[in-house]
């Protein structure tokens, strides 16, 4: 890799990292709002009555393993093992899709029971926080498709590594946010 390219990689990664920090603050605001509105259930069921730990645990395991496969994707990309790289990226994509599917099923389940975001401030905060994370995961999935195409085409050879690393940063970031959600939204509802 040329000198000019490492410079550019450096710059892009730093810029992307700054963006992630700012995204982190969007989540921070949503977390803070959730914390304030957690008990504002307005007569509707609260967190403890609504969530099942087993289900969320499954979601968590799926998302965490997708982070692991994403890490491996980058590893094999560096090693130049393209078949493994593509396979693992596809696996990451499937895990991400499974996560979204589970989340959609959780949401639609709640809505069918008449517990939509319109029912109480707590539910508004819950749907928004978890939904925003889900929306980010969805963006990540779209990104994966685009990047897979570019990984396959030789003319993107020079820039595509940089993008893969940004994507993996993004994906790990979403994982960390999820751990926050898992802890503060789901686990806490059974403790406090």
């Amino acid at each position: 890799m040329t000198h000019a390219h490492t410079l550019k990689d450096n710059r892009t990664l730093f810029g992307f990292w700054l963006y992630l920090m700012s995204d982190c603050l969007i989540f921070a605001s949503l977390f803070a709002t959730y914390a304030v509105l957690r008990s504002a259930t307005y007569g509707a069921p609260g967190a403890r009555e609504l969530f099942s730990l087993e289900f969320v645990f499954l979601e968590t395991v799926i998302l965490l393993s997708s982070s692991f496969t994403m890490g491996l994707t980058v590893y094999f990309a560096h090693k130049g093992k393209r078949a493994l790289m593509f396979g693992l990226l596809a696996l990451t994509f499937c895990l991400g899709t499974a996560f979204i599917a589970l989340e959609v099923s959780e949401f639609s389940h709640l809505i069918q029971e008449g517990l939509s975001w319109e029912r109480s401030a707590f539910l508004s905060a819950f749907f928004t926080l978890v939904g925003t994370h889900g929306l980010h995961v969805l963006c990540g999935l779209i990104w994966m498709i685009v990047l897979a195409i570019q990984l396959a085409l030789p003319r993107y050879h020079e820039i595509v590594m940089r993008r893969l690393i940004c994507l993996s940063l993004f994906w790990h970031f979403l994982d960390i946010i999820w751990i926050g959600i898992f802890t503060f939204v789901y686990l806490f509802s059974f403790i406090v």
Binding site: I26, A121, S124
Partner: protein, 650 residues
């Protein structure tokens, strides 16, 4: 398809119709003009798709001045109403229109005048002061500009189609909720700010990356010009605080679009949560605006006193201290909320603490001037006006920071006087100083001194005439945002305030004349070299106007005021030019902005299908851009030599 948009949305009120006709005429005239001179190709290639930071700066500046006119018209209408609406007279404006006016004034002045002026100056000067060829991400820079312009356009569309928000510039719920503001005004407000806010955030990321990654070789952080330091602090504040604004307004829009209950007054919603969140952004925002102004003053004072800035280190530390403190004072905007004496005491004391680093700065500037050889040019005049005015505004701020006092004058005209005192005396004067100081750098000729002096004197006398009466009125009990009052003894104060505004308007008019006149006389005002003011920092080393690549040879820096040092110890050498890699133009910014504008407009009017199409347009444009590979071109060393031979660089 068209949601709730019907012909009823067109204006009925004669004033609004006149404004619409005026806007349409100006727009049409511009289009005809450009078409007549067959300038579309030139405008598209040289400006609209340009990623050159200097051109982007100019486009920010032009938009800001256009919006300044609108903000001033709004302020004049508010002033006129308050000058006559006393006792039996209801004035000339219905209350709802009046409410839209002060809301629009606040939003325009903050988001579409102060912010773009700041971005104009930063764009113009940051890469030059750092000795680099462009910002870290030039295309992103153009995207930021166009998102900002999309917001400004949406703001002006709201004048004609439908209505604007009438709930104050921060749109407090529950008033701004669906229950009390069912119209489109608040939705315009939300999307105007969301679109331009994303632009601001992207700019901030860009500038911080530029400062960290693109400094000229040898320029350590502690060698950076102080303006760069203040930009760094201000942009960091944007990265931290604008996401909070985005999230808050997103929640407000979810309340309004999907029937959620974040800030409603029933179903467990909590309006105070909004007020806390919006001020976690809002207070840092005022420092976002003022810190670069401090940086400009530091440059101006040091240059026109022909001395090195006094206390560079303490200046840096004061900037950083203000940056941190600005996050722990937000509750001083609502001492009356009822959070309790201890909370109020904490926020009151923290607010007073900010006065310390601010005072450090004032003294540093004064010590820089002490025994300097001061040259009273317009930039220096703005500085003198600033020290006087801003210090006064700071004092009234300290008064407000005492919770017990604040209980008396919260939401009164005293407050309005206070923040205009700091914003006009600090931010506006600062940016004007910056413009008159750096104008010759970007354009190659100076602004006319005499007219600049007249404009300054109009602004400062006008300011004091317009706002001192408001301090008195506030203490007498006048609240802000009144479309009518019953105490006739207040009227003289309002009339004086109105006269003050007229003086300010004369000042602004002179500024426009100054620009036109200076362009007309540009040959006489031309600066012989790139170094218009016998400068100290790197921007003065290159030609004025600077070539696209800024520096033919990237300078090496040792210590502070590198150009000054070079003038003391010149070491001439034969330049050795190399090929320069430059970013190609891109239309992605303008396409993204068009889609975002469409998205904002369609969301306001509930045109869901078109909104979905706009989102797809945005995603499509981003993806399409990611497939473009040839994003750079090479300017040959030969070509560089040719340009340099004709340049007026030092």
């Amino acid at each position: 398809m068209f949601g709730r948009l019907t012909l009823d949305a067109l204006p009925h009120d004669p004033i609004v119709i006149a404004a619409t006709v005026f806007m349409v005429c100006v727009g049409a005239a511009t289009l005809c003009f450009v078409t007549y001179f067959r300038a579309w190709g030139y405008i598209w290639h040289e400006w609209l798709t340009s990623v050159d930071h200097k051109k982007i700066a100019i486009m920010y500046g032009i938009t800001a001045f256009v919006m300044l006119v609108r903000g001033l018209v709004d302020a004049s209408m508010v002033r006129a109403q308050q000058a006559i609406a006393v006792g039996n007279s209801a004035g000339y404006l219905p209350p709802d229109h009046f409410d839209q006016l002060f809301t629009a004034h606040g939003v325009i002045m903050i988001f579409f005048v102060a912010m773009p002026l700041m971005f104009a100056i930063i764009n113009a000067m940051l890469p030059l002061q750092l000795g680099t060829r462009d910002v870290a991400f030039p295309v992103l820079n153009s995207i930021s500009l166009w998102l900002f312009i999309a917001g400004a356009v949406l703001m002006n569309i709201s004048l004609t189609i439908g209505e604007f928000a009438a709930a104050g510039w921060l749109a407090y719920p529950p008033l701004s909720g669906l229950a009390y503001s069912p119209g489109v005004g608040i939705d315009y407000y939300i999307w105007v700010i969301q679109i331009s806010g994303v632009g601001s955030l992207l700019s901030a990321v860009n500038f911080v990356a530029t400062i960290i990654k693109e400094r000229a070789p040898g320029m350590t952080l502690m060698n950076m010009p102080i303006f760069v330091w203040t930009v760094f602090a201000s942009m960091t504040l944007i990265i931290i605080s604008f996401p909070v604004l985005t999230a808050t307004l997103a929640m407000l829009s979810l309340d309004r679009f999907l029937g959620m209950h974040f800030f409603t007054s029933d179903f467990g919603g909590n309006p105070m949560m909004y007020i806390n969140l919006i001020w976690t952004w809002g207070h840092p925002e005022v420092y976002i605006l003022i810190l670069p102004a401090f940086g400009i003053f530091s440059e101006v004072v040091s240059n026109f006193s022909q001395k090195r800035l006094f206390g560079y280190r303490s200046m840096v530390y004061a900037t950083i201290a203000i940056m941190f403190l600005s996050f722990i004072v937000w509750a001083h905007h609502f001492f009356t909320m009822g959070a309790g004496a201890n909370v109020n005491a904490f926020f009151g004391i923290m607010t007073m603490v900010i006065a310390i680093p601010a005072g450090v700065k004032i003294f540093n500037w004064l010590f820089t001037m002490y025994r300097g050889r001061i040259d009273f040019r317009t930039p220096m005049l703005w500085f003198m006006g600033f020290v006087f005015t801003f210090t006064l505004g700071g004092m009234s701020g300290i008064l407000l920071s005492l919770p017990a006092v604040d209980f008396q004058i919260n939401n009164s005209l005293f407050l309005v006087a206070h923040f205009h005192n700091t914003i006009i005396g600090g931010v506006v004067f600062g940016y004007f100083a910056g413009i008159s100081y750096w104008f010759p750098k970007i354009f190659g000729f100076k602004l006319d001194e005499r007219l600049g002096t007249y404009a300054f004197w109009c602004w400062i006398t006008g300011f004091f005439t317009a706002f001192m009466p408001l301090y008195a009125l506030g203490i007498m009990g006048a609240t802000r945002r009144m479309s009518h009052y019953s105490d006739p003894s207040w009227q003289p104060f309002f009339i004086v305030a109105g006269i003050g505004l007229v003086i300010i308007l004369v000042g602004v008019f002179i500024q426009f004349v100054q620009i036109a006149w200076s362009i007309y006389k540009r040959h006489e005002l031309r600066t012989p070299t790139g170094d218009a003011w016998y400068g100290r920092s790197l921007e003065w080393m290159t030609a004025s106007p600077p070539p696209v690549y800024n520096f033919a040879i990237i300078p090496h820096v040792h210590g502070h005021d590198p150009l000054w040092a070079r003038k003391q110890y010149p070491h001439p050498s034969i330049p050795l030019y190399t090929n320069i890699e430059l970013p190609r133009n891109s239309s992605v910014g303008i396409v993204l902005a068009a889609c975002s504008l469409a998205l904002g407009f369609t969301l306001v009017w509930h045109m869901w299908i078109l909104a979905a199409l706009s989102v797809m347009g945005i995603i499509g444009a981003v993806i399409a851009r990611s497939f473009v590979t040839h994003t750079e071109y090479i300017l040959s060393a030969h070509e560089v030599a040719r340009i340099e031979a004709r340049s007026n660089a030092l």
